[in-house]
């Protein structure tokens, strides 16, 4: 599903973020991405979502070589990748329903189909009763669940999350991880960046560790 081959990413203002990074993630796999802050976790995820392009090397996602993807195909690609952020990235002036519906609206789906799918996604994250609320009326954990519903509402084969539990207490974090597990069980490929090491080590999933932009360890030896 994801394949990095000798990927370098250099930012003009702060130097190398990723150096010679290679790894593969199979379809249906769930993996954690850990490492100290500034190790390049976010950069890696941004490359997958094509928010950035690598300086060198190849990133292949879902059979697509992202380096060769023309600009006008970028929206199409992003609809295939559900992205979750630490700060949720919700629209504060829109209802929960509208926030979750956004990827479907953008994809041009019909009204009925949108309503059906949004409610299904909200049901999955346990927020069906809050569809009319605005994000500010929700707790941090609930906001993150709205973000997750938005990421999966388009039924993407791949979901990436950047520190989804960064602002949550352990109980809520566990709840979020259980949610990810459920997506994993229905075949979604997940890559989750986190430094919630306590939780991660207790779960039986692959762990990729970055240090200074290099792959330091991979719990599954190749």
């Amino acid at each position: 599903m994801i394949s990095f081959e000798h990927v370098h990413k250099r930012y003009p203002e702060r130097g190398d973020a990723l150096t010679d990074l290679s790894f593969e993630l199979q379809a249906g796999e769930m993996a954690f991405l850990t490492g100290h802050s500034g190790a390049g976790k976010s950069t890696l995820l941004r490359l997958i979502g094509l928010l950035e392009r690598p300086t060198r090397g190849q990133v292949i996602v879902n059979g697509r070589n992202l380096g060769a993807l023309p600009r006008r195909k970028i929206p199409q690609h992003r609809r295939q990748v559900g992205m979750i952020f630490q700060d949720h990235r919700l629209l504060a002036d829109r209802s929960v329903f509208d926030n979750v519906a956004l990827p479907l609206v953008v994809a041009g789906l019909g009204h009925k189909e949108i309503g059906r799918r949004v409610r299904a996604a909200l049901d999955q994250v346990g927020l069906l009763a809050r569809e009319r609320a605005t994000p500010v009326a929700l707790s941090g954990g609930e906001q993150q669940r709205v973000g997750i519903a938005r990421a999966v509402v388009g039924r993407p084969p791949l979901v990436v999350a950047d520190e989804p539990t960064g602002n949550l207490d352990p109980d809520l974090s566990l709840e979020i991880f259980r949610l990810f597990e459920r997506f994993h069980q229905v075949g979604v490929t997940l890559l989750i960046a986190t430094h919630d090491l306590g939780l991660v080590t207790r779960m039986p999933y692959r762990r990729l560790t970055l240090a200074d932009g290099r792959l330091e360890s991979d719990s599954r030896s190749r």
């Binding site: 379809a27 249906g28 979502g49 094509l50 928010l51 950035e52 392009r53 600009r71 006008r72 970028i74 929206p75 199409q76 690609h77 992003r78 609809r79 992205m83 990235r89 919700l90 629209l91 956004l102 990827p103 953008v106 994809a107 041009g108 789906l109 019909g110 189909e113 938005r150 388009g154 039924r155 084969p157 229905v186 075949g187």
Partner: protein
């Protein structure tokens, strides 16, 4: 896993099939939704929207008002076309018989389509009718007015140069006292009107450019205000066209509302001026209904206003939305 993928593909095929079938309907629907949604958004902030619309309206009202003024003057001048092109005033000592002979000679000349003789009594009656002079005229012992020959040159003889030549020929006649060339004056007036009309176009273009800048700047601010929203939409896979569309519609609405405002302002002005103009016309013993902006003029204003606004927002959108997904 395989089964699931196949199922997924099926589901995708199902959802895409009807979309292909009613694509034109969907496209129209999307535009309609955008149009309604952007208008709603503008209406929710009436004060800033109103101010922008007022600026556009006032800018466009200026050339529109000038247009109305020239059109009315043209209508007025059209009424004068019927007047004689030249009036040949004969010397006081010329009597009716001599005048008639001169008229015959001029008719035979061929330069004139019509030669009309106005004798002293007729002239006095006409003068009385013009109003205001009745008392003064009744004081006079004898009729002071000369015999006048009203001359209508052939259209082929009506160029300004030809008319001036005609003027020198007429003044050279022994019977002539003086010659007044009405057409020459009318033609100068027409030339001034043409100039004014050119000025309307120039002014319209210049203020249209102003509208372009106003709307462009308003849209630029709107884009900056909604930066985070735009970023989120890009994250979930919105195409550039999808993000641009509401801004372009907003620009078009500004143009439409501004154009309507311009029309409204000019119409109000015409209504307010109608009464003083009628009074003025009455003083000249005539009537003159002011004409406002007709449907064609309204359409022109709206088309121009919307076009300039769209260009302005197009430029803003292209300048400020490019940076977001420049990869």
């Amino acid at each position: 896993m395989m089964m699931m993928m196949i199922k997924k593909q099926h589901a995708r095929a199902r959802q895409q099939h009807p979309r292909l079938l009613d694509l034109p309907g969907l496209w129209l629907n999307r535009h309609l939704q955008n149009a309604v949604a952007t208008l709603g958004r503008l209406m929710r902030t009436p004060l800033p929207t109103g101010m922008t619309v007022a600026v556009i309206g006032i800018s466009l009202a200026l050339p529109a008002a000038l247009f109305v003024a020239t059109e009315n003057l043209r209508t007025m001048a059209g009424g004068w076309e019927q007047a004689a092109a030249a009036s040949l005033f004969l010397r006081q000592d010329i009597d009716d018989e001599e005048a008639n002979r001169l008229a015959e000679r001029l008719r035979a000349n061929g330069a004139f389509a019509q030669v009309h003789l106005i004798d002293r009594d007729q002239a006095l009656d006409e003068f009385r009718e013009l109003g205001g002079f009745e008392d003064a005229l009744s004081q006079l012992q004898h009729n002071p007015l000369p015999i006048v020959l009203a001359l209508y040159p052939h259209p082929s003889e009506s160029s300004p140069a030809r008319l001036e030549a005609l003027q020198t020929e007429l003044i050279a006649l022994p019977e002539a006292d003086f010659v007044r060339m009405d057409t020459l004056w009318l033609q100068r007036f027409q030339a001034i009107l043409d100039l004014a009309q050119r000025a309307v176009i120039l002014l319209g273009g210049l203020l249209g450019l102003g509208v372009l800048l106003i709307v462009g700047n308003t849209i630029r601010l709107e884009i900056l205000n909604r930066r985070s929203e735009i970023e989120i939409m890009e994250l979930v896979g919105a195409t550039a066209a999808f993000i641009r569309r509401p801004f372009l519609y907003t620009g078009a609405w500004y143009g439409f509302l501004g154009g309507m405002m311009a029309w409204f302002l000019v119409t109000i002005a015409v209504i307010l001026l109608q009464q003083p103009v009628s009074r003025l016309a009455t003083l000249y013993r005539s009537e003159f209904p002011l004409s406002g902006l007709g449907p064609l003029a309204l359409l022109t204003i709206l088309a121009g206003s919307i076009t300039f606004s769209l260009i302005g927002s197009w430029i803003a959108v292209n300048r400020h939305l490019r940076g977001a997904d420049a990869l």
